[in-house]
């Protein structure tokens, strides 16, 4: 069709005007490309994290539910509530195994704690006294039954996954290593406790149940330090310095053999799919989980962990919208000026019989060709610019995550340092393990993940859409031009 030929001739023979329009679109395309690239990168990172982090379920006392069922203004009712509270049975290993036996789960683990005294060791004390923190899964809602009247809390872990304090870096090994044999009687102790009692790695420490004088021995395989002050966040009867860390089998064995010991179990269940939460809760209720026990998840942790990236994405979205609005208005004004400049041409073409729709189509083709060229060049420049921009926005996050990941290995010490720390290494163009809130996930540290066909497609769509919209508005003015008036004005 002749309008294509005519459009091409018009583009190539009016270089100054078209280069000016092209530069404007180029600037818009560059800004749009950068913001789209940042959005895409942030989305990839969040998606990678959400896909990598499991939804975990823990079980805790549902106090609000319990209090809602009793009249708190009545003394008798309050007594009934206290009775009900005491009657809510702790989770046992049998319960755990029952709940863990589900098709909705891909993993499960627990910690189990008992309280013991020692005739040979002096417990660390603080102004707050001593007691129990409720196990290593302490950052999750747990049933914090007071486990004992002992000076020391012996906490056993069912697996490495359960050792969230080491994974998060709150605890880290300074000497020796965390025992990986879950049938042994090895343990790790707090550095402060070790110094207080002059205990070294390889020493055997003994505990006693004061109720029946039964004794238990553990071999120290490692000494750890705690990032936070051990007295913080404790109950009135505990000091985390006195927390002795061993495996769950050891603790459950002594608890089952010693009737005078009371244990506390903190379970964690890992769901196959995030969508299975409601179904799994229903299954737990059907299996007898008390109505006074609530199902808690780590979904809030996931949101908190990705909030920084989400903020970057939101910023990019806002910037994109502003860019498009300003760019659209600028493009619209330039198009209208362009049309006014070409009034004479419009008048001549209309006079010799060119239909308005053909004229509009020709002008639109010209604008689209200029836009496409500018968008492609802009995408290239924009993607080049987006490398440093995106990286600078994400660099601090990635760097801190890398440091955190590397430090996890050091927290475990010994073999775990190689096993975990080695996996955390990454960089260059390879996917890197990024640590969010103590959980390692894969994400891209390279800009290769930012600039892709998806971004290019989005840019072209946005650019063409913007061009058509701004072009259409100015094309409407073509319809209003009278060829006779235009030619009279020129004469």
């Amino acid at each position: 069709m002749y309008i294509f030929k005519n459009a091409w001739v018009s583009i190539t023979r009016n270089k100054g005007r078209n280069i000016f329009i092209g530069i404007i679109i180029l600037v818009i395309a560059c800004a749009t490309s950068v913001t789209l690239a940042i959005r895409s990168s942030a989305s990839s990172l969040i998606e990678a994290y959400e896909n990598s982090v499991d939804l975990t379920v823990s079980i805790g006392m549902d106090r609000s539910n319990m209090m809602g069922k009793f009249d708190m203004s009545s003394e008798s009712s309050r007594e009934e509530m206290m009775k009900a509270f005491q009657n809510v049975s702790s989770i046992t290993i049998d319960d755990f195994e029952l709940y863990a036996n589900s098709n909705y789960l891909k993993d499960s683990y627990y910690t189990i704690s008992v309280g013991l005294d020692s005739d040979e060791m002096e417990a660390a004390t603080s102004s707050f006294g001593n007691g129990d923190r409720g196990g290593m899964g302490g950052n999750k809602t747990t049933i914090t039954n007071t486990t004992s009247s002992g000076d020391f809390t012996i906490t056993g872990y069912s697996s490495i996954s359960a050792m969230t304090e080491f994974i998060s870096g709150n605890y880290s090994i300074v000497e020796g290593e965390v025992p990986t044999d879950f049938d042994s009687n090895y343990c790790v102790i707090n550095q402060e406790l070790a110094e207080l009692n002059e205990i070294s790695v390889g020493d055997t420490i003994k505990f006693v149940n004061s109720n029946n004088n039964k004794t238990y021995s553990l071999i120290v395989s490692g000494i750890y330090t705690e990032k936070e002050d051990g007295t913080s966040g404790m109950s009135m009867f505990s000091n985390s310095v006195n927390n002795i860390i061993t495996n769950a089998n050891y603790v459950s064995n002594i608890a089952s053999e010693d009737d005078d010991l009371t244990s506390s179990l903190t379970p964690t269940f890992v769901l196959n799919n995030k969508e299975d939460l409601n179904a799994y809760e229903e299954e737990l209720r059907n299996k007898g989980l008390s109505e006074y026990l609530a199902i808690n998840t780590n979904s809030e942790e996931v949101e908190n962990a990705t909030s920084t990236i989400s903020n970057v994405s939101s910023f990019a979205t806002t910037f994109l919208i502003i860019t498009l609005i300003i760019g659209g208005v600028v493009l619209l004004v330039i198009n209208m000026i362009n049309i006014r400049e070409r009034k004479y041409e419009i008048g001549v073409l209309r006079t010799i019989g060119m239909k308005k729709k053909m004229l509009t189509a020709q002008f639109m083709i010209e604008l689209l060709v200029i836009s496409m060229v500018a968008l492609l060049v802009g995408a290239g420049i924009g993607s080049f610019i987006s490398v440093p921009v995106s990286n600078s926005l994400l660099a601090s996050e990635i760097e801190s995550s890398k440091n955190e990941s590397n430090s996890i290995g050091q927290n475990f010490g010994g073999n775990m340092n190689q096993a975990q720390g080695g996996q955390m290494a990454g960089g260059g163009n390879a996917p890197t393990n990024i640590n969010f809130g103590g959980v390692s996930v894969q994400a891209y540290s390279s800009i290769d993940a930012v600039v892709d066909m998806k971004v290019l497609g989005q840019l072209l769509l946005v650019g063409i859409g913007l061009t058509i919209l701004s072009g259409l508005a100015s094309m409407i003015s073509i319809q209003k031009f009278s060829p006779l008036t235009i030619l009279k004005e020129r004469t």
Binding site: K5, N14, T351, I352, G353, M354, K355, L484
Partner: protein
């Protein structure tokens, strides 16, 4: 000979003018093929308005204009302008970013006239109005006024229209060139049987025309030569 164009009680007033404020009133002109018509009149007499009505750039407020007995009010004026009417302006109205031949070819494209080799035809038309083939690829602004007007005439002939309307076609040209341009138009009437309508101030052109219509005080006077 049967008229190709007939104006019956044509009147025109601007849309924002008073009801009785007509620029043209009761115009009854007939135009036949093979003749050169001159429309004369003082400034403000409505010559250009009449031309715009005949060429389908405006629609009349009263009466009707019949092209081959068909009312212009009932036909597609874009098609009418691109196929049946050739318009030549005083200021040429060529597209400056195109060459001489491209201006002519564009007109052929718009009219959708079927031509095997449009460039060859454009060059042939240029030669017919006294322009050498070497001018075909010259940009319009590199041509003189007379040369541009010849290109404009060649363009108006490119789709073989029945009527050529020329608005002060020699207004910007010297006497010698004026005669040359008129000869071309006269030749088209005599040899190609075109109806040539010239709006002019020039007494010289009026005298050489077959029929002169004079617009005076919103009325017309016919003066056969």
């Amino acid at each position: 000979m049967k008229e190709i164009l007939k104006l019956e009680n044509v009147g025109y007033r601007y849309s924002d003018a008073d009801a009785n404020d007509f620029v043209l009133k009761n115009i009854n002109f007939d135009f036949e093929s093979g003749k050169v018509y001159a429309i004369k009149g003082k400034s403000g007499s409505g010559k250009t308005t009449l031309l715009s009505l005949i060429s389908g750039l405006e629609r009349c407020s009263e009466g009707k204009i019949l092209f081959k007995e068909e009312d212009l009010g009932n036909i597609d004026l874009d098609y009418y302008r691109s196929n049946h009417i050739g318009i030549v302006f005083q200021s040429y109205n060529l597209l400056p970013h195109l060459t001489a031949s491209e201006n002519i070819i564009l007109s052929m494209d718009i009219s959708k006239v079927e031509v095997d080799d449009k460039r060859a035809k454009a060059i042939k038309l240029m030669e017919s109005v006294g322009l050498p083939a070497s001018y075909a690829d010259k940009r319009i602004l590199r041509l003189s006024g007379g040369e541009q007007q010849r290109v404009a005439i060649a363009r108006s002939l490119s789709y073989n229209p029945h009527i050529i309307i020329a608005d002060e076609p020699t207004g910007n040209l010297d006497k010698e060139t004026e005669n040359e341009i008129f000869d071309i138009l006269k030749n088209l009437a005599e040899k190609e049987n075109k109806c040539i309508i010239i709006v002019t101030h020039s007494d010289n052109l009026a005298k050489r025309s077959d029929i002169v219509y004079e617009l005076k005080n919103k009325s017309k006077k016919k003066k056969d030569d």
